[in-house]
């Protein structure tokens, strides 16, 4: 029996059993009700109570068996596990049925069950973060056993020698991450130069100047920019903007590479405009009107009010929005994979080709390399750095936004 069949039998069998348990539990409650003994809960709740106690032991056994199997422990064959789960279900059902009395607080038990189920669901998001940290950290640790952290952080040469078999010698590889981060920061900086002024000024226009009608049209249009998939932006950057940059550079006598850093930076900036503008828009809107009116009363014009009153008050929020934008740009993958170069290049010239952290991660993990080759492990080390940097940026901006909201509530 393969996994999917086992699962089918397991859940397919559990469902009718649960219905039977529900009917039994409710009937017992109804009989008691018929004898004029006052029930604590509704009859159906007794049914749910019995069905839950029937299903829980079976589910627990299935879960334990699956987990044990995953960790390579010896597990009895699937039919035995199924039979065992069935017996446990029957025992649970019988015990719960015996407890069904008019005085049993079935509703409270259900309430408790629901509470813990919902609580368990909320743990999934914590487990996800944990999963990201663990999956990256373990492989990154393996990498740092082979390459010293110092070389990784300060080295200016990134030239891994491809290894396709486990254990192959890779002593000639160099893993200096500085050129990768230089490329990442260059492209991020270009993106922010486009996104922050455009996004911020657009947000000011929409929240301070625009009529209601302009707002209701312009806002969703800007959101379309945010909804365009990144792979589409990548194609746009590679096929339209890059050649355009090369042409313009040539016309002023400059030499540009077709995988220059400027094109992905510009397109990434366009992509981030709506993030900055919608977050700044929210922030500016939450500045109370009394501040503006006070300023007008003193004879300030609207732009003076915005520059001297509204923006300083909204500054923490705008800062936070920009940090989120930077975090987004650092981790952006498709645009740079499609439009930026593959060559690690330490330069100040955005017209040269540069590569980024995310490009190297994708490159290392989509090749035919063996999974424990240093280059694959290096991808996880780069992922770890990316995670830590974006985590710090995100946390700072989340906390700043929370504080900001509270200060004007």
């Amino acid at each position: 029996m393969d996994t999917s069949q086992t699962l089918l039998v397991f859940f397919g069998g559990l469902l009718p059993l649960a219905v039977v348990a529900f009917v039994l539990g409710r009937r017992k409650a109804l009989i008691a009700d018929g004898q004029d003994r006052r029930l604590h809960s509704l009859p159906a709740q007794y049914g749910v109570y019995v069905a839950t106690w029937m299903a829980l032991p079976a589910l627990a056994i299935g879960f334990v068996a699956a987990t044990a199997d995953l960790f390579g422990l010896r597990v009895p064959a699937a039919p035995f596990v199924l039979a065992f789960a069935l017996v446990a279900a029957a025992v649970g059902c019988a015990l719960a049925l015996r407890r069904v009395q008019p005085t049993l607080r079935a509703r409270n038990a259900i309430e408790k069950f629901v509470y813990w189920t919902l609580f368990a669901a909320s743990l999934v998001s914590i487990l996800t973060t944990l999963g990201i940290i663990l999956s990256i950290a373990f492989e990154a640790l393996k990498f740092f056993q082979q390459v010293s952290v110092w070389d990784f952080v300060t080295g200016t040469q990134w030239s891994p020698v491809a290894t396709f078999r486990p254990g192959q010698d890779s002593a000639a590889s160099q893993f200096g991450s500085v050129p990768l981060f230089a490329g990442t920061f260059m492209i991020t900086a270009i993106a922010m130069l486009v996104a922050i002024p455009t996004g911020l000024f657009a947000a000011i226009y929409m929240s301070e100047y625009a009529s209601h009608r302009v707002r209701t049209i312009a806002k969703p249009l800007l959101e379309i920019l945010a909804g365009i998939p990144t792979v589409v932006y990548g194609f746009f950057a590679a096929i339209t903007i890059s050649p355009l940059v090369v042409e313009v550079a040539q016309s002023v006598g400059l030499d540009a590479s077709y995988t220059n850093a400027l094109a992905p930076g510009l397109v990434m900036g366009i992509m981030i405009i709506p993030f900055i503008s919608s977050l700044s828009d929210d922030v500016i809107n939450s500045i109370p009107n009394s501040l503006r009116e006070g300023s007008y009363a003193l004879g300030m014009t609207q732009s003076e009010t915005i520059k001297k009153i509204v923006l300083p008050a909204a500054f923490p929020g705008i800062m936070a929005a920009s940090l989120l934008g930077i975090s987004r740009a650092l981790g952006e993958t498709m645009i740079v994979v499609m439009a930026a170069g593959l060559r690690p290049n330490l330069t100040w010239n955005p017209l040269e080709d540069m590569t980024t952290v995310t490009v190297r991660i994708v490159d290392a993990l989509t090749g035919d390399q063996s999974f424990d080759s240093p280059e694959t492990l290096a991808a996880f080390a780069l992922g770890l750095v990316l995670f830590v940097v974006t985590l710090v940026l995100n946390l700072v901006s989340i906390i700043v936004i929370r504080k900001f909201r509270q200060s004007y509530e």
Partner: protein, 389 residues
């Protein structure tokens, strides 16, 4: 006595008014610039992609006999054969098998031209042999060469032959992946949101969960790919490139989107609904299940659709778990190797032939239309059913 009061603004004031106008113009300019990008972007995609929706078809006599079934190139006249798509020749044995009456007949029919001819006719390349150009001109003059709707773009799978490549397998793959995303992230997301909004005590742990969710929403998507690779594929043994692996990975990405929008929808239900329910004896869960949830359902569904649309356009994490494989046939199960629409677009974007540039842009137009339909559905749902309190 009658001293005249000048109401004309002083020079300093004029300067301030000019600054006011300038500032307003900058702001408007920024907004228009952002919208201009949008227009430029769509215009460029349509310019690049529109020609892939049509394809060149040639009217040629096709001969079916024992020879041509074996040497399929001989089924059409010698001078036309180099212009016909290889995909057509591949079909000839199958056509005869399906319809034995065709054997030993000659039929005049419209067949798809190969991409060299197609690209030449559309004016993208000039690199066609002189004698082919001549025969093509002759056929055009006779009305034997025309444009037809490229149904292969929608109804055939990926192919190394550009004139035969289509989005079908990627579309089916996308649907499989989205089903997994919906099945995993919707229940867990809604349950988490209900817990946080309706049940959770206000303590440090709850705040940690909240901050964690907000952070997850901003974690670079590629890191979810690393998680999928290390946990789902290497640890749990989910088949690489499968719709299941992709769906589970994207579920974790979609989860925070659904949680955040569901919480907003739950928060929009006024407190007195809950109080009313509890006043007549409902428990907390009963008041949520019977009153709060039905009232917030439009908002929850809107958020879910937007989350699904986001997941549908996501590529980066899928690259790492191998969903860029060459998939000519649509997958038939969750554990089979599959690809999705954005991954197909990425694959095509990397192909060397000129024809794939148009195909990529056409694929982008199809993907964008799907996303716009999804988002429009979400907005409609919200406008139609959302209650304002």
């Amino acid at each position: 006595m009658n001293q005249r009061v000048t109401l004309a603004p002083s020079r300093a004031l004029k300067k301030r008014y000019r600054a006011e106008k300038r500032f307003k113009a900058y702001c408007l300019g920024a907004l228009l610039l952002a919208l201009a990008f949008l227009v430029l972007f769509f215009a460029d995609m349509i310019r690049q992609g529109h020609s892939a929706f049509i394809e060149t078809e040639l009217r040629v006599p096709v001969t079916y006999n024992a020879d041509t079934v074996q040497f399929t190139l001989e089924s059409v006249p010698e001078d036309i054969a180099p212009m016909v798509s290889r995909a057509f020749f591949r079909q000839i044995p199958r056509q005869v098998e399906a319809n034995p009456a065709l054997m030993n007949t000659t039929e005049t029919r419209w067949v798809v031209a190969n991409s060299d001819v197609d690209q030449y006719r559309k004016g993208y390349t000039d690199s066609l042999d002189a004698d082919l150009k001549a025969s093509l001109e002759r056929m055009e003059a006779n009305g034997d060469a025309a444009y037809g709707f490229n149904d292969g773009l929608f109804f055939s799978g990926d192919s190394k032959i550009p004139s035969n490549a289509g989005l079908w397998s990627a579309f089916i793959g996308s649907i499989y992946v989205m089903l997994v995303v919906l099945a995993v992230s919707f229940p867990i997301g809604v349950a988490t949101a209900i817990y946080l909004e309706e049940f959770a005590p206000d303590n440090r742990f709850t705040q940690a969960i909240e901050i964690n969710i907000n952070n997850l929403a901003a974690v670079p998507s590629i890191l979810f790919g690393l998680l999928g690779l290390a946990i789902f594929i290497n640890f749990f043994g989910v088949p690489r490139s499968s719709a299941l692996a992709g769906g589970l990975t994207l579920s974790l990405m979609t989860l925070p989107v659904i949680i955040i929008s569901t919480r907003a929808a739950l928060r929009a239900v006024p407190q007195n609904i809950r109080q009313g329910a509890q006043a007549v004896g409902a428990s907390r869960w009963q008041s949520v299940r019977d009153h709060v949830l039905p009232l917030s359902l439009p908002g929850i569904l809107t958020g879910t659709i937007i989350g699904i649309a986001q997941a549908m356009g996501e590529t980066a994490p899928l690259l790492l778990i191998g969903m860029i494989a060459y998939i000519p046939d649509a997958p038939t199960s969750m554990t089979q190797a599959a690809t999705v629409l954005p991954a197909q677009i990425f694959t095509w974007a990397g192909m060397p032939e000129r024809a794939y540039v148009s195909l990529t842009a056409a694929g982008i137009l199809v993907l964008l239309s799907l996303l716009i339909v999804l988002n429009a559905a979400a907005v409609l749902l919200r406008n139609r059913f959302e209650r304002r309190w």
